[in-house]
Every structure is written in C-alpha cells, then in structure tokens.
Amino acid sequence: MSELDFTALHTALQEIAPHGRSALLPALHAAQAIYGYLPEPVAAEVGRLLGVPLADVCGVIDFYSMFYREPVGNKVVQICGDMACALAGGEALIRAACRHLGVALGEISADGGFTIERVPCLGLCEHAPAVLVGEQALGRVNPEQVAEWLNGHGMVPVALVYGSHRRLTINCGRGRPATLDEYLESGGYAGLRRALSLSPDEVIAEVKASGLVGRGGAAFPTGLKWEGAARALGEPKYVVCNADESEPGTFKDRVLMTDDPHRVLEGMLIAAYAIGARQGYIFVRGEYTYAYRAIERAVSEARESGYLGESILGSEFSFDLELRRGAGAYICGEETALFEAIEGKRGFPRIKPPFPTTSGLFGKPTVINNVETLCNVPFILEQGAAAYRQLGSPKSPGTKLFCVSGDVLRPGVYEVPFGVTIRYLLYGLAGGVRQGRRLQTILFGGAAGAFALPNQLDVPLTFEDLRQAGLPLGSGVVMVLDETRDLRQVLAGVARFFAHESCGKCYPCQLGTQRQAEILERVARGEPLPGDAGRLSDVGWTMSDASLCGLGQTAASAVLSAMQHWPTLFEPTIKGDGLDKY
C-alpha cells in the first residue's frame, strides 16, 4: 500500500481541499475515481488534506453505500432489487449476472472486471428491470442477454412522459436535455425576469397566493417556507435543491433534471432572489450521474449567458451554485440529513426544531425545496398565481407529476391537474393493468406510502381527498400490483429496503426496521410465528410514533396499511383457505 502515488489525488483535490470538511463527499468521489476504492492510505490522505479527523473520514465512507473500503471490480453493476424491478424480474438479473461471472453478490469477478450488487430503487421504474453498469443506466434488461448488458450495451432509458396538461414537462420526453436556447424559446427564464422586476416580498406574496406546496412528500406551503427564511436573522442564506430522489417508485425528478435542467435552475434563482441568498446547492443522488451531468451542463450554459453569477440579467442580484453528488443513502432525502451530507458528515437527520428556515445548511437560514416544487415556480412568476390556480382544486392548485409503474400498460411520468381520479390516471391515461389482469392494489406514495384498494379508484387526486381516504400522496408514486402478485413478498421487499436505509441514529428505527424485516421475511416464506401480527403492530406503531425523522415515522406505513386491509396475510397459512396462493 505504501507505494500508492498521491500525485493524481493532490491534483484532483487542489481546488476543493481549502473548503475543508464540506468538500469531503466530493473528495471521496474524486479519490475513488482515481483508485477504484478508498484504501486506508488514500482515506488518510484525504483526511489530512481536508483537515478532517481520520475516524470521521472512515465513518463517512462507511455510511454511504457507494464508497468502498475494500477493492471492487472495475465496474460495479448495481441491479435494482426494489418494487417495480422486483415485479419485472430483477432477481433473475442478479442470478444471471452472478452465474455468468461465477461470483456471489459483492465478490469481484476473476478477471477483476465486475462486482455485482443488489441495490435499492434506482429511480428507473418505468424501464424495469433496470441496472447501472458503472455510470451507465440500462432498462428493460433481459437475463438472457447478460453478456451484452454487463458490458454496458442495451436499452438506454429515456424519459416516458405523458399527461393531459404539460406545464412542468413541456420540454420533457425528447430523450435529451433541453438546451438553454430551447428553454428560452419555450418561455424559459421569463419567470426570473418578472421576479427581478418585483421586490423579494412581492415574489413571496405571488408564491403564497399560488398555493404551491412542497412535492417532496411533506406538502409544506412553499411561500411560507420562503417567508420564514427571508425573515430569519443570519447571513449568508442558502437555497438548496433536494434532488436526492430515492423513494422507491419515484422517478419524476430524474426526468425533470435530465430533460429540462434549466427549469430547476430558474426555480432556484427565483427562490434565492426572494429570500436574499447568494449561494445555492443542488444535491443529486449518487446513482443519478447522468442527471448530475445534465444539470452540470445547464449550470455552465447559465453561467456563460449571465443567468448565474454576478449581476444576473443586469440586476443587482447575484447568485451561484455548487453541485453535490450523494453516495448511496436514502436518508439524505431527509432535509437535515442532506445538510449533514453537504457539510461532509454521515447523513444523520437532526432534531427539529430548529427548522431549516432559521438554522439549516451550516446553521444558516435555508430554503430547501424538492426539484418538482422548484419547477413549478417559473410558471407562477411568469403567468401569475391566478393563472396557476386555473388548474387543480382550490386546496391543491396546479398540476402534479405521478410516477406510474409496476403492472401497468404504459408506465411513465404523468402530469395531470390535481383533482383527476386515480381511475382516470390509471385507466384513462396509463392504459390500465397489464395483460388484461385485474387490479389487486396500488401502493400509493412509495415504500413510505399506503395501499389503495380497487374500491378507492374514484378518489380524486388532491391532498385533501387523499388524506381523507387515508392515502399519502407522498412523492407521487402509483405502483400498480395485479391480482397475481404476492403481497407478502412486496412487503418483505419494503421492509428490507428500510432496514438497509435506516441511518441507525434513533432506536425505534435502527432496531425496528431490522425486526420488521425479520418478521416479514418469515411471513413471506409462509412461516409466521404465533404473535407475529402483534409484534409487527407494536414495532410499526413504535416506529411511527417515536422515531426521530420521517424515515422511521413512515417505515411501517405500508405494513400497517396492509395489516388493516388484509389481516390474514400475517397469520400462519391454513391449507385450502384460499390464501395458499401466497
């Protein structure tokens, strides 16, 4: 190990090292790109250059799934094991790849070329089953063509975008990012121009009047959030774009970033102007390298054309932003965990209060918004709140992107006005259940969501109606399950996901996600123990009631909803009761 050459590392880190700890994730990405993994001397050198205690460097490496302390193959092949991909045969891909290379999961192939991993949802659900070979995403992967896709050949996923009203997605679905010129032609940056002609308070008033609420899952009023940060004491202030889209079944932000990256930037610029921020961050999940590149190109286009930097469009407003890549941790979608990651730490969520608007990134007032939320902002500023409210319901104005996948004829991102029914979305637009099968249920809102029954198809898709029906809108996941699907397997998959992604900070989630997964594994095997339903219920309610952050509070949401709908699923199977199909 001592013969390791640090020249390339020193060059790579020269520019970012002075930023110290906040450069830790970028530095580890850069180091891993050079050495293939992060051996001890490299980790030590990164710590030395950035001034981060070595134990902390190691703690960070260990927290993020995409950083490796041990050698891996030249290409890490990440095969999605969640939900839509599991339904479409993801496990067969894992078996095929392992057999082809003669390795077990996590082992390096004999030629050093590959390491196969089963990973959480890659956000390519409309192209299930999906894999990442190195940074190359591939969809509709066939286990019989294993030799081809292991070498990066196959169907490169392009966004499938549909819907009745295209406000956010007008430039999406072309199979490539809209350039700055194309964005301008479609009316881009007109919202920013109008915003700059108003006072920051007037911009906030417009957003408040629009009724826009956050699209990341929590549905917090965006204007109120901005107002909180604008009025908070403390400088500098930050705008952060949460592009760590990782909720299983969610892929809308991927589509917005890869196909229309300037819309995201324009939304951030308007937010920054409104709250008085000069600096912003976009934190993109580690698996979305291609989306990161699209945003990166858009940022340089915007800088060259005066949309980012000093005196934007000749005004007194200046703003620039830095991009950050995650490294494999669902928890970083939790806003305070995301701040920790930008600050170069393990992605542990913080205790709230204080809230980000007063004490966010680096302890400063911060607005953090989801990608889709920000993409609504240009329209609101350009056309005004009244025009924005022409679609949707009074309490849920505007349009919403739904991520439709699973056993559905036309999976994809659907932009529809709030208020259409689930039936219209599924049967009117998406072609209904595949292969003429009957609908069993819809997992609504993702792994952290709840099950909708066929008799709920006429519920209008609004925050208020869904809440009343006990369905979380979440990040807009509509995961369709046909009558042949084994819900016990689906639930075991959901539980495995949360056990893998719990950060381990608070006891209810650290212990509860593990126990929940163990119980559901035996339920899925058809071997539940007497009392398992009671155990699941106690574990589930304890996580929901007592966990520190949203991850733990929703880690049992799907399970508890299934227990309510189908209590017999969790009891020992009695032959001949009609349940043995499970």
Binding site: E40, A43, A44, P53, L54, A55, D56, V57, C58, G59, D62, F63, R69, A329, R346, I351, A499, H500, E501, S502, C503, G504, K505, C506, Y507, P508, Q510, L511, G512, T513, Q514, R515, E518, R522, L529, R535, D538, V539, W541, T542, S544, D545, A546, S547, L548, Q553
Partner: protein
Amino acid sequence: MTEVNLIIDGVPVSVEPGTTLLKAAEAAGIVIPTICYHEACTANALCRLCVVEVEDWRVLAPACVAQASEGMIVHTRSERVERSRRTILEMLTSAVDLSESPEILGFLQDYAADSQRFPGALRREPPLLDDNPMYVRDYAKCVLCWRCVQVCADDAQYTFAINFSGRGFHTQIGTFFDKPMPETTCVFCGQCVGVCPTGALKPRREWLLEQGILPEEIVQSSRMARKQKR
C-alpha cells in the same frame, strides 16, 4: 423572565422558558426514563425512551430536548407512550447484552417488557476488543447511546479517535479502519469509559479482576508488557 405554564400528568407546572419537558417533569416529581441522555453531553434524543405524548402533536415528543411551552398538556404514561417505551426496550434487549446495565434492566421490569419478545432476532455480537492497557471494548454490550463518541469529540476531549462504522442496525463504534486504540489519536483520558452506561467500555483492570486474575498477576503482566516494549 415570565414563566411557562403547562400540565404534566394532570399536575400544573411552571418553569423558565427553554426548560425541557424532562426537567419540567422532574420539577413536578415525575421521573421520565432515559438511556442516551447524560447531563454532561449534548442531548441527541436518539434512544427515544423519554418520549411523552403532548396533546395535539402528531408524534410523540422526546422529553430530553422538547421544550415546555405555554398551555402544553403532557402525558408521560399514556398508552402510546407505554407501547413505545416497552417495544423499544424489548427490541433493545433482543439485540444487545444488557447484563451489566442495571438501570435498563430496571426499565424492562417497570414497563413489563418481555425479553423474549423477538424470537430468532439478529443480535449484535462482535468479539471483545482488548487492544490497549487501559480499557477493553465489548461492543456486544453497546447500546449506541453515542456518549463515548461525543466526549471523544467536541463534548469534551477533542480527540476524535472514534466514530461510527456501518449503518442502521449494523452501526458500531469504531476507529479509523478498525485500528487498535494505541494507533489512533486516543489519549486514554478515560472519559468514554466514564460515560458508558452499559459496561461496553470498561477499565482493563476491572475486566481482568472479574475474570479471577489476581491483582499481583495483573501488575506482573503489565510490567512484562512494558519491558517487552522497550
């Protein structure tokens, strides 16, 4: 300063603004159980044993950090609170060795927690680490209260010798690339041993004596070790 008035388990309490529910309850003579909380450490609200039910709150509140506010109505032994505390204790005892944590064992009794509630549960059972002359680390007893990491860092010593490894259930306390303590920045101040609530960190002498090794044998062997080093 104007005091804040609230009701805890039916008892009216007045406290200074900024007082936590844990302290406010204490003032009313109500004891709330805690594991991770330590007077000398930054409260992280992670064991969640101290959760209480505040009326109109969606989720339970961690009493060690949640602050009293005017008109709050707090229940420290409601059904939801009891279920959470009991289940947390049952899950904890199914994961780690609590045999040297008398306080937590007491909580198990108080909340009628069943230590066999989770049959077949995975336990955290790493081997004991005896890599320095001062203390041993038996992480099979570690409840991940974080106190040792905090006192080693900016809660006290600024040594930064230890941090976390793994994630989720598989989180452990560890050094840089699992190096033995003498090869880290550890200054053997002993503060981590002092704040450990479960005997996971223990003076090496205490550990040797427990195993029936006589004091003179311990002296003898440590002299030998020093000589060998020279």
